[in-house]
Symmetry: C2
């Protein structure tokens, strides 16, 4: 006698986890061609919007901890797509900046968003249905992301 609330069919998290993994797999061949992983691509998205950010700002944009981002940035530095320089005002900070190679990747990856977009489109997933999905996911992220901040603030 399986309880309904334990059925895989009724799990929100499992759906998010699976959809996320499968969609990330769509990125893989497109990115590995340029020596990038998906999280590294996310770092580039952040830096293309605003160059020269400290580690902490990048981590906050991605809802990640610095202990995840730091090694990732170290690998990206080794690959020559970013540089990490000590902050001038604050010597604790590491300012992450795009290299020429990192900037140029935006042009070389220009087809990626469209390729991924077309991979998910189907009868029920259309450009028109995106806003509704985006809103729900944003609400989940806001709820869980904020409650996390509350936690750390109350300690």
């Amino acid at each position: 006698m399986i309880r309904e609330e334990f059925r895989l069919k009724n799990q929100l998290c499992f759906r998010l986890y699976t959809a996320s993994r499968l969609l990330t797999q769509v990125y893989h061949p497109l990115l590995s061609e340029h020596g990038l992983t998906y999280p590294q691509y996310l770092v580039l998205l952040v830096l293309w919007e605003k160059d020269a950010q400290p580690v902490n700002d990048i981590a906050k944009h991605l809802f990640l901890e610095t202990n995840t981002v730091t090694p990732l940035l170290q690998r990206m530095e080794k690959e020559g797509v970013i540089t990490r320089t000590k902050g001038e005002k604050d010597a604790r900070q590491m300012i992450v900046s795009l290299t020429r190679k990192g900037r140029d990747l935006q042009k070389r990856l220009s087809e990626v968003p469209f390729a991924v977009g077309s991979a998910v489109l189907c009868d029920s997933i259309t450009p028109e249905s995106f806003p509704a999905l985006f809103n729900m996911l944003d609400d989940i992220i806001a709820k869980l992301g904020n409650s996390k901040e509350q936690e750390s603030r109350s300690q």
Copy 2:
């Protein structure tokens, strides 16, 4: 000049990835108390629905590869929540079965689905809005999961 399609705000995958990670983090304290990780919990969900399944069936339910599931099952066996026995009809198969401890965990974790559910509920995420979200995520999973099967079939 950032292109719109590269903005973090416009990325479906980033939302799925973030929502998945944040929601998985809600599970963490509830599961680690019982020595479980989230992927291990998913294996239990599968086995609670149907006990004694080969590795491959478990992997397929979770949209994972056996090279991810095998080490995970080995850890669960070491923890004493499952057993792995060679298949009788097919000696290549490893049949994964719940131990007494694994079965009992269902009762001990009975509050988990409700605790997680209440963690996401807010003004816009309600029991009424779940079906719409579930349907869209299921469509994404079906589209990407199926196209993966097509691939392997055509090789």
